[in-house]
């Protein structure tokens, strides 16, 4: 039984009858109210840190009865570590200095179990003299556990969403990869079937043989390109790609790429402006980047719209720009575009693995450079910009 509890029957008004008004104005009213509060431990502490009063809430939360704690130092409620660190005294000093101190942390019940306390300590002054403290403590263990469970659930939910997205990306990839690999296999099989059929019909002339071989060669090259891309991605994702930096001229590399594409792409769609741009770079890898960007520009725009390639020295080192007047892209798709197996929404019917930009970004990053994309929006064309430093970072293969 808490000591502050006063039995109303012990006090009687002058009329002999006790009224609510008597109680409300009597000095014990506050004590009665405080004592009746079960959700908060509310008690007074002397200036030296000893417990003076104890309400029912305190008894319920901390497990001690009033007779067990009155006169005891508040250290009793703290963990051993907190006591050793001088926390009880520090909180009182803080309250004495500032008028009030918050004290949130683990406390120990009488039975040794811990609870999470959210407490405030208020200094009580009378004419400048500190005569004690009022402490209000709430047991927040359940709320804290609920918050922790909530946090845990949120973490798990996020992990599950990430796993689901990874699965979707994998399925997307398998579907794209199987389509992309089946296409050259179909060409290959058709070219062989056509040669066999011509032979069977006795019309297998030199022209048919030549054309058949060229088609077979093209299909096989396409398949190897796809396989190399797939291997590249797994290497780049593991970060185990080695770069071989030498002194190169970007305009020479770009010219080779353009020549190669011009052989396949009629109508002189590729326009270019190539300034001599000597830097230190991995020539084969940079060729891959330019080739990927040019391939995209041609794929995502249609004949006879031109695509533009520009190579020029810049203050960082070098700038590569590939611009088309094609399908463009929605602004919110810009960042995802460089992720593996991600393709623009406009790309549903465009062949490709969706790996070119990811590979390009990783290669550019390996050179210490940066790749970015700009588009005025859906249907308004796309510009890719690559900046490369004069010298790649040191961690690569220096070459010399």
């Amino acid at each position: 039984m808490a000591v502050t509890q006063i039995k109303p029957t012990q006090r009687v008004s002058a009329s002999g009858k006790r009224t609510l008004a008597d109680l409300a104005h009597g000095p014990e009213a506050i004590r009665l109210l405080v004592d009746a509060i079960l959700d908060y431990a509310i008690f007074l502490i002397g200036p030296d840190g000893h417990v003076l009063t104890w309400n029912q809430g305190a008894e319920r939360i901390k497990g001690y009865s009033a007779s067990e704690v009155i006169g005891k130092h508040i250290s009793l409620f703290y963990t051993r570590e907190d006591v050793e660190a001088g926390r009880p005294e520090r909180i009182l000093r803080q309250a004495a200095r500032a008028g009030r101190a918050n004290d949130e942390g683990w406390r120990v019940r009488k039975d040794g179990t811990r609870f999470w306390a959210d407490a405030s300590v208020h200094a009580l002054y009378d004419h400048g003299r500190l005569y004690g403290f009022a402490k209000i403590t709430r047991d927040m263990t359940e709320a804290r556990e609920a918050a922790e469970r909530e946090r845990q659930l949120a973490v798990e939910r996020e992990a599950r969403l990430a796993a689901e997205e990874a699965l979707r990306a994998r399925d997307r990839f398998l579907s794209i990869a199987s389509h992309e690999l089946k296409t050259p296999v179909a060409s290959l099989q058709l070219a062989v079937d056509a040669l066999l059929m011509s032979r069977q019909r006795g019309i297998l002339d030199q022209g048919r043989i030549e054309r058949g071989l060229e088609r077979i060669e093209r299909a096989v090259r396409r398949m190897s390109t796809l396989l190399v891309e797939l291997l590249d991605v797994s290497r780049l994702e593991r970060g185990s790609t080695e770069f071989h930096f030498t002194d190169v001229d970007l305009s020479d590399i770009a010219e080779e790429v353009i020549d190669r594409f011009a052989g396949v792409e009629p109508n002189e769609r590729i326009r270019f402006d190539l300034e001599p741009t000597p830097i230190r770079a991995d020539a084969a890898r940079i060729e891959q980047v330019i080739s990927n960007l040019l391939d995209n520009a041609l794929k995502y725009s249609s004949q006879p719209d031109p695509v533009y390639v520009r190579i020029a020295p810049s203050k960082e080192g070098a700038a590569i720009e590939v611009r088309d007047r094609g399908v463009g892209l929605a602004l919110d798709r810009k960042d995802g575009l460089f992720e593996p197996f991600s393709r623009g929404d406009n790309s549903v019917s465009v062949p490709g693995l969706g790996l070119g930009l990811f590979i390009s970004r990783e290669i550019v990053a390996g050179h210490g450079g940066h790749i970015s994309v700009e588009s005025a929006g859906d249907g308004k064309g796309t510009t890719f910009r690559v900046t490369l430093p004069q010298q790649p970072p040191r961690n690569g293969d220096g070459g010399s």
Binding site: S175, S178, H179, E180, K182, T183, P184, V185, A186, S187, L188, Q189, L190, A191, D193, A194, M197, S198, R201, G202, I203, R208, R211, G212, R215, R218, A219, K299, Y300, S302, V348, S349, V350, P351
Partner: protein
């Protein structure tokens, strides 16, 4: 009656050229197109008896092509879908295709399917048979 007309629509140049050559050898009158839009142009004033159609193509895919085709006054030719795309069966029913062949395929199977769709040949005899 002249040779049966076949329009081959595929963005893969190897497939397009080879099929064009083989079907010509086989006695068909063949045109090739590299996407749906190109195919519509090829069909201008030249009615095909059958269209061999890839599904995924740049510029205009099979769906865009079919809906443009259906808006023309003349009857649309039957379509044989030829694709490596996943979900080919549902694409075929959406497009109302006469037939579906998934890549890779055997040339003999495709030729048999083309003959089945266009009906009996009474034009040029197949070369060398």
């Amino acid at each position: 009656m002249g040779a049966r007309r076949v329009l081959v629509v595929d963005d893969d140049p190897t497939l397009r050229e080879t099929l064009g050559e083989v079907l010509t050898d086989d006695g068909f009158d063949v045109r090739v197109a590299w996407n749906g839009r190109d195919a519509l142009e090829k069909l201008d004033g030249w009615n095909a008896d059958v269209v061999i159609l890839d599904v995924m193509m740049p510029v205009m895919d099979a769906f865009g092509f079919q809906s443009a085709l259906d808006q023309r006054p003349e009857p649309s030719p039957p379509v044989i879908l030829l694709s490596a795309a996943p979900g080919l069966a549902s694409a075929a029913s959406e497009l109302g295709a006469a037939s579906v062949i998934s890549k890779p395929f055997h040339l003999q199977d495709l030729i048999a399917e083309v003959r089945r769709v266009v009906g009996p040949m009474n034009g040029t005899a197949p070369a060398g048979v």
